[in-house]
């Protein structure tokens, strides 16, 4: 019996007001919420769940550094080894000339790195079944918590669908 109460359930709401009220009730009763999801970036101050550290910034910096290193190395190699051209006595390693290209390459690699990280990281919650996805989307607001928490707040909402997680 106790094990059954510790099982997680998903509550799916169609109305934002019902969802917000339930979140407030759970927070008021100090009941942890494992996962919540609205249809837009909600201000998560009412949420008590923990979140993982995001490595997005690190990815951006790393890819940017790779871009700078690779770009600069390539330009220096082309200018001094592969295709050295004497432009009226201008030095082969004309550093100021390289800045625009290196900057653009750094920006490009950083953006692409962060984009790929965003696309592929934390994709395990992506729903592949279209019918289930439709169901989730028709109920735009959902939260996941333990069954026992619902009993603590005497949860009763006719407009909500409750499924076992």
């Amino acid at each position: 019996m106790n094990n059954k109460l510790k099982e997680k359930v998903t509550l799916r709401f169609s109305k934002q007001e019902d969802w917000t009220e339930t979140v407030k009730l759970l927070n008021g009763a100090n009941c942890p919420i494992d996962e919540i999801s609205p249809a837009f970036p909600f201000d998560f101050e009412e949420d008590t769940s923990n979140s993982e550290i995001s490595r997005l910034s690190l990815t951006g910096i790393l890819f940017g550094i790779i871009g700078i290193t690779a770009g600069l190395s390539f330009i220096i190699w082309v200018s001094t080894v592969a295709y050295p051209i004497n432009f009226g006595g201008k030095p082969l390693l004309a550093w100021p000339s390289f800045f625009p290209v290196v900057f653009e390459i750094a920006v490009l690699t950083s953006v692409i790195g962060m984009f790929l990280y965003f696309l592929f990281h934390d994709n395990k919650t992506r729903v592949n079944d279209r019918d289930e996805e439709k169901e989730i989307q028709n109920k735009e607001f959902y939260l996941v918590t333990k069954k026992e928490n619902l009993q603590k707040i005497n949860f009763l909402n006719e407009n909500c669908i409750i499924t076992n997680d």
Binding site: Y83, P100, T125
Partner: protein, 447 residues
């Protein structure tokens, strides 16, 4: 049933949440009205003129243009710089205003970002077609080849290749990321199977968890932070196509900030034109309000004043130099062969924006519309007056020669306008023009 009854809104969608979706996405998948078809037909006609001009140019060569040995850059480079400048407003609105936490940008950023991408595509056409042998345009990219040749990294023309390519890719990623939540929101709701299927295909990520939303918000901030220096760098690099040369009237250190300010000036004028028409035709005046038009007009006024200051500084620098060639160049512009164009430019870019000091004019969409059109005309003239007169009368008088654009060059420019409008008209039928999830978020936080 309401006007937008094609939206499959289920389960008590008469709430505020459902209303926003209906207002902003109700037209998607629905047959367009007569006005849209008329606009599309005109745009397609203009695009067709461009296609014919392009084919004629490719068959006969750029000798049919008005260019000559002296004036080797004409309306094609003018058009290139003009379109790149227009594209800058989109990135400014998406990135810079996001960093400054200006919430009002959420109603116009989608349209502005789309405008940026379409403007870059139109701009990229000109450097390719003006090469003479556009089929070897890929030579501009550094790759190992059997000719033992590499590109010249000291040349601003090559910096342009990297800058514009990067700008296009970053803007596209920014646009797609911004669109993703709305695609997810709508992909099972539209009563159009083709559009639903298309949305499913392009939705590479679902938003079903709080963690994903947090990562998303962080990503948007980082992208905004990275795209902001792009706004400054790209048009500065374009200006260096001129500033790093020795041509009189080009070799000026004021060009980078002058070009950037002018870009944002013309870009916002273009956004105003698009937004004023869109809000009227899609009946979304409550989302794109007169307040948005007012705020954009303030930015136009500010950048217009910067452009005016730049004109004055340029004149002062050239007159103070006591360089005969420069002084002759100025006299040709102010009271010589280019006087009509120069004074038209001054009227459009200097005097007309001063009307925007008055709040009543700033909040009048019709007056704003016409002022914005004239600003775009004035900015095109400005780019033309930078490119052509300096080349016509450079330091060697024996090489002086006049230039006038040929009918083919005019056709190419009209074609790019047609291409831009075609893409924009298709965009407003396929995607929500106003960001739905940002408006939902705004509504939620206003509770």
């Amino acid at each position: 049933m309401g006007k937008y009854n094609n939206i499959l809104v289920s389960l008590q969608r008469d709430d505020r949440f459902g209303k926003v979706i209906k207002d902003l996405a109700g037209h998607l998948g629905k047959r367009p009205g007569r006005n849209w078809f008329v606009a599309f037909a005109i745009s397609l006609l203009a695009f067709g003129v461009g296609v014919i001009s392009t084919i004629y140019t490719l068959c006969e060569g750029i000798g049919i243009w008005g260019l000559n040995n002296t004036v080797n850059w004409g309306t094609s480079i003018t058009g290139f710089v003009w379109w790149i400048g227009i594209g800058h407003a989109g990135t400014f609105i998406s990135a810079v205003l996001l960093l400054f936490q200006q919430e009002w940008r959420s109603s116009i950023n989608r349209a502005a970002e789309a405008m940026t991408i379409f403007a870059i595509l139109c701009a990229a056409f000109f450097p390719v077609i003006h090469m003479g042998r556009p089929f070897i345009a890929f030579f501009t990219f550094p790759y190992p080849n059997t000719r033992n040749l590499w590109v010249n990294f000291n040349s601003p023309l090559l910096w342009d290749v990297f800058a514009i390519s990067t700008y296009f890719i970053v803007s596209s990623i920014f646009f797609y990321i911004g669109l993703l939540p709305d695609i997810n929101l709508l992909k099972n709701k539209l009563n159009n199977r083709v559009l639903n299927h298309f949305y499913h295909k392009i939705s590479l990520k679902s938003f079903t968890s709080k963690r994903q939303w947090k990562t998303y918000k962080k990503l948007m901030l980082f992208l905004a932070g990275i795209a902001t220096p792009l706004v400054l760098s790209v048009h500065s690099i374009v200006s260096m196509d001129f500033a790093t040369s020795l041509i009189p009237g080009w070799h000026s250190t004021i060009f980078p900030p002058f070009f950037v300010a002018g870009a944002i000036f013309s870009g916002f004028a273009a956004v105003q034109i698009l937004v004023i028409i869109t809000r009227k035709t899609l009946e979304i005046e409550q989302y794109i309000t007169l307040s948005h038009i007012d705020k954009m007009n303030k930015i136009i006024l500010l950048t217009g004043c910067i452009v005016t200051l730049a004109y004055g500084i340029e004149l002062f620098i050239d007159l103070q130099s006591e360089n005969e060639t420069l002084i002759y160049l100025i006299s040709r512009k102010i009271r010589g062969e280019h006087a009509l164009l120069w004074w038209s430019m001054i009227f459009c870019n200097v005097f007309l924006p001063q009307l925007l000091w008055y709040a009543k004019i700033r909040r009048n969409s019709i007056i704003t519309f016409f002022i914005s059109i004239l600003i775009l005309v004035g900015m095109w003239i400005e780019r033309y007056l930078i490119v052509v007169p300096s080349l016509e009368t450079s330091y060697i008088p024996a090489r002086w020669k006049d230039y006038s654009p040929s009918i083919t060059e005019i056709g190419l420019f009209i074609g790019t306008i047609g291409l831009f409008l075609v893409m924009y008209l298709l965009f407003i039928r396929l995607f929500p023009v106003v960001s739905i999830f940002e408006n939902l978020q705004k509504n939620n936080s206003n509770e």
